[in-house]
């Protein structure tokens, strides 16, 4: 178990995977409760297009991809608020168009074929110290934003329009959340890849929701579950030599299955005990009469 820890790249990857897992778990709570679970998948595709475009235009990758992701998230929010288009359709249109732009640029310029696989499926080996710094910075910013904006975010997630009637500046809250989401996805791309980010954003909060009815506990559990899946997934990827993104998601899916089975079994046992108890009381009443 301690063998991989002798490698510097693995230790760096371990820190990154744990942080990214926790970060996706944190932001994922708001995504899942807003019923926009597909946005993680869609934005990852959009940001891919933004990252490629930034590379072609020689713009700083983090900044370019984050801005592109932020603009995409705002476009999705705007389109989803219009009654004629559903949120999922809006996400599909905006994000696949961005992804297509990225693919078109890659096929046109043909200079980064190697990184294409890493971008799609994740490659922990490619994590640099700059990536680590970026992830730590985004984690701190996310924690601060969610701490300061806790009340605003809770109300807008529960009832976005009604929150506005109560004086919450919902356009600003949505903008801040979109920017944060874009930043989280940008820093998570290298670890998880475009195709796996959606699962890392959705599975931990869904598992947390199975375990608790409390919003605060759901936040904490989702971060812990996300972090542990990141950690576990990286270990698995080292030993069985698969992409880091795939192994993180597989571990997350396994956790989901185990928790779902456990909670379902617990409910059935409780129902069965309640039925037996009611039957016993009814039998006692019949005996009396």
């Amino acid at each position: 178990m301690f063998t991989p820890l002798q490698y510097e790249f693995f230790v760096r990857g371990l820190i990154v995977a744990t942080l990214v897992g926790g970060l996706c778990g944190l932001i994922g709570v708001y995504i899942v409760l807003r019923r926009m679970s597909y946005i993680g998948h869609g934005l990852a595709h959009a940001i891919f297009g933004g990252a490629v475009t930034s590379y072609v235009l020689s713009i700083n990758l983090f900044i370019g991809a984050s801005v592109w992701g932020f603009v995409s998230a705002m476009l999705i929010n705007l389109a989803a608020k219009k009654r004629r288009i559903n949120a999922d359709a809006a996400i599909g249109i905006v994000t696949t168009a961005s992804f297509a732009l990225g693919v078109a640029l890659i096929s046109r310029f043909k200079t980064f074929t190697r990184s294409f696989d890493a971008a799609l499926f994740g490659n922990i080996l490619g994590i640099t110290n700059n990536d680590l710094i970026a992830i730590i910075a985004v984690s701190i910013i996310a924690a601060i934003v969610i701490f300061i904006g806790y009340k605003y975010l809770l109300f807008t997630t529960f009832e976005s329009e009604v929150a506005g009637f109560y004086g919450v500046p919902t356009p600003w809250v949505d903008a801040a959340f979109s920017l944060l989401l874009a930043a989280v996805i940008v820093v998570s791309l290298q670890v998880l890849g475009v195709t796996m980010i959606a699962a890392a954003v959705v599975i931990p909060p869904v598992v947390a929701q199975l375990l608790t009815n409390s919003f605060n506990k759901m936040l904490i559990l989702s971060v812990i579950i996300g972090a542990l899946c990141g950690l576990g997934g990286l270990y698995v990827s080292f030993y069985i030599d698969v992409s880091s993104g795939a192994s993180v998601v597989l571990i997350s899916a396994l956790v989901f299955i185990v928790v779902l089975a456990g909670t379902t079994l617990k409910q059935r046992i409780s129902s069965s005990r309640l039925r037996k108890s009611n039957h016993h009381h009814s039998s006692q009443e019949l005996d009396i009469h």
Binding site: K151, F155, F165, Y166
Partner: protein, 273 residues
Amino acid sequence: MLHPTPHEYERTESIVEIGNVTCGYDGSPVLKNISLTINRGDFVGLLGPSGSGKTTLLRTILGAVDIYEGEVSVEGNQVSGRKRRIGYVPQLETIDWNFPITVEQLVMMGRTSKRWWTPWYQANDRELGYHMMERLGISDIAGRHIREISGGQQQRAFLARALVSSPKLLLLDEPTSGVDIKTRDEVMHLLDDLNHQDVTVIMTTHEINAVAAHLPRVVCVNGEIVDDGAPNDIFTPDVLKRTYNADILVTEYMGMKLVAESPHFFGQKDHDH
């Protein structure tokens, strides 16, 4: 039976002014050329069938619809797209009951804008929230999840949220929809008590006999304002036909107008044996 008592003071100070307004969503007008004045202390029911625009009228006061013509002002200030701080209780059918919050967390959302930059509430906010929950008889269920309480308790929880910031104007969208008769009476008596404490109440309803007939003032809506006044004055077959696009019989019992909403019999007739 609820008999609203008129207020003792003169209600001439207007709190809501809607002047020749045409409004709707995404370029499609829902309400055309409507004018309405609500005075401080009024208790008004917006009555109409589904799709008549009564919710749109409520949302017009909230500043949540596109206004194509005319002006809307609340407490003397234009709304025109800006959302006003008014107590608002949404339709319970629109709520996500699986959202992981307790009754207390829901009520405290009414104090969100106060010192918003801290995740915790100040002591006086907590006191106000607790006082409101006690007043509405839900303090003993404060720690329960919102889906684990009855329909009447849910309605009171949302009402507590709306009232915790002491609004002068309370808007409610179908507050008696989907609740039983006892709960409906409790909610209406509660609103009546609030109205007597100088809260202006505007609510939408589609229930004529059960709710609208008991209110001091009703505005009949069907794409426009069909009529506006006391139920005993405006509940005529002609007004109700224009509001509901259906023949409705009107009669009277103990000084109150009663309507037969569907004067038809359905099902197979009994055969003589």
